[in-house]
Symmetry: C2
């Protein structure tokens, strides 16, 4: 007997990405006969993945019935950051229904941090009850996606090869996918943000550190050891600030949340920035956000920090654009809050440095989902896991 | 009725990549029943793509028959360079049976150069007669693979959007695939060279110019406009030599065949290199090859040029390795003739600069096929074209 020609994961992905569809539309999109589709929908209904959603708008002829992902489907989405943890519950379409965030130092190690994740997950599940079928987790370091473990993550002492996926899968009794946080952000932006439906894009995250999510042909490219996208340690100049990695002159040591905070304190103390000096006196420390606020308020020295940082980031982005010729560059992470002056600087450098063929139709834009990119992407990765079954 | 479960292009690719296989082995590798395989082999035999090749070695039980690509299959493989054209004839397994090379300035434009290609092809076909089923062409600039045309190629005046594929297909009466020359070299090295069967690799060509072929998941990544791999114009320093692209400080302006020739003349005239000075006096000009010869003979200044160039190339390769985490970096093109001192310098920089996770198992090696990489890759691309039908 012929195997059923219905591509199940494509069917589920259509319902996730486009929402409820009539049986007729589904059949046309999948190019399968009515009977085969009905049989497959029956099976998916039995396992609780899809359901009927009322009559579809008539297109003349027989009225079709809407099919949608089951309304009670839930996925857990976790974003572990350097200094915080966010846990969200999303529906099958990766729309976030509830989320909670807590301060959390990733250096506390996996036992403490995962306990926190499990506790937050229990809380957030109460806020949006339903049937949890999968979970996705983003971690701030290189991850072996296949094994579901962090691999030699520089800022995560104690996490190396810790079985994050298997431990959470055992706790939650559902499949879990673990990925690098920047990959998750790239996928989130592609699912529901500014890069919707694009096949080839770079998501450059500038937060405490700097990293890049690479989406090629609609899939995350992770490299042979899960280390792809590690652009924070591309060296810009031989003589430069010392980096957390032990090197000097890395992009991240020049421009990142941490570097901006350091330079802001330097400026404040030098007397060249009255606004930053006031902030430092008031709060005892400064962050990238303070630099943005001071720059927007017309502080010349703070604006200079943003410009210099944007230029350096632009140098690296220009190289990546020459190298990969992507369809879009999205800039996200905390420092993207510096907004349009940062963007203008990056765009200027890229368009000056890369060849016109690569920059001609290249949008360089800010993340649309902001804080939420990571959890939306983690939810998306979780659904992929379930839908592939 | 069920469609035949035999994946035809996979079957043909197996015979190309592994050589003759018994029917039994083929059936096992493709996971298809004997009857379906026989039917498909019958069809492929009728169109002259496969044939029987005598009895297979016995594994006990019924003796199986060897199946192979038809011995009379031929593909044309063309490598258009900046200053030469090579045309080869290969068999279905992409083994080069005959080749001819002629000096040829790509700036003569497409009409002149393609006429030359057609003339050389006629000659080389006589050297290795058979049935030409496809042709592959590598061009020294960005190519729209889909459209079979060069796109805004910097060193190819008059070629922009010239219908190379369609013109040659009309002349030869067979399908033609046109690609960037560096992509072809990467595929050649992957099919039959040092990167055999690797899924993820970078092929860095340093010839007159500098470019990079990117193979990810076993396929060439071309970027959204066919411009991926354009690393020659990544800028290393603000103040640097003027580049052919109009910018300053590009990798290619620092280190390439053209840059080495320029610097060699400078050294010769400065009196700092007796060997290069002698060569200049004798021949009126110098090339990258002269630098290599002088360096090997112990000329200190020439060796310095190789070291500096290797360091600069290493800086760019280190960035690419951090970014993509490939499984191998192959260095090819004319300047790879500088050999192991170049390689040592590149390796040193990459291992110092990229994170251990990305460099731990990373071979950085010289091209094995040398001059032949481009035509082997063009032949491979041609077979893909036929086998996909």
């Amino acid at each position: 007997m012929a195997p059923t020609p219905v591509n199940r994961s494509r069917l589920l992905a259509l319902l996730r990405d486009e929402g409820p569809l009539s049986r007729v539309a589904l059949g046309e999109r999948l190019g399968v006969p009515r009977a085969a589709l009905s049989a497959e929908l029956g099976r998916l209904g039995e396992v609780g993945l899809v359901e009927e959603g009322g009559p579809a708008a008539s297109r003349g002829g027989r009225r079709s019935v809407l099919v949608r992902l089951a309304a009670e489907l839930r996925v857990l989405a976790v974003a572990v950051g350097a200094t915080s943890v966010t846990v969200a519950v999303a529906d099958g379409r990766c729309e976030v229904l509830a989320r909670v965030t807590e301060e959390s130092d990733v250096r506390d190690g996996p036992v403490v941090v995962l306990e926190r994740v499990v506790r937050l997950a229990a809380r957030v599940r109460e806020l949006a009850p339903g049937r949890v079928v999968a979970a996705g987790v983003g971690l701030p370091g290189p991850v072996s996606f296949r094994d579901g473990v962090p691999v030699a993550p520089p800022i995560m002492p104690g996490w190396d090869r810790y079985p994050v996926r298997d431990e959470l899968a055992a706790r939650w009794g559902c499949p879990v996918a673990v990925d690098n946080d920047v990959n998750a952000m790239a996928l989130g932006e592609r699912h529901a943000g500014v890069a919707r439906s694009l096949e080839d894009l770079l998501f450059v995250k500038v937060g405490t550190g700097v990293g890049c999510g690479i989406v090629l042909g609609g899939r995350v490219y992770r490299g042979v050891a899960g280390a792809a996208g590690d652009i924070g340690h591309i060296r810009l100049e031989e003589d430069g600030p010392v980096c957390a990695c032990g090197g000097t002159g890395c992009l991240e040591a020049w421009f990142s949340g941490a570097a901006l905070a350091r330079d802001a304190v330097g400026l404040a103390r030098s007397g060249r920035s009255p606004l930053l000096a006031a902030g430092l006196a008031e709060r005892g420390g400064l962050t990238a956000r303070d630099v943005g606020v001071a720059a927007s308020a017309g502080d010349y020295a703070a604006a200079g920090l943003v410009r210099d940082g944007g230029r350096r980031l632009g140098q690296v982005v220009a190289s990546l654009v020459s190298f990969l010729n992507p369809g879009m560059v999205v800039i996200g992470g905390g420092v993207s809050g510096l907004g349009h002056s940062l963007l203008a600087e990056v765009r200027g450098v890229v368009h000056r440095r890369s060849l016109p063929l690569a920059t001609g139709n290249l949008p360089i834009v800010l993340s649309e989902l902001g804080d939420e990119a990571g959890v939306v992407g983690a939810a998306w990765t979780a659904t992929e896991r379930v839908f592939a079954v």
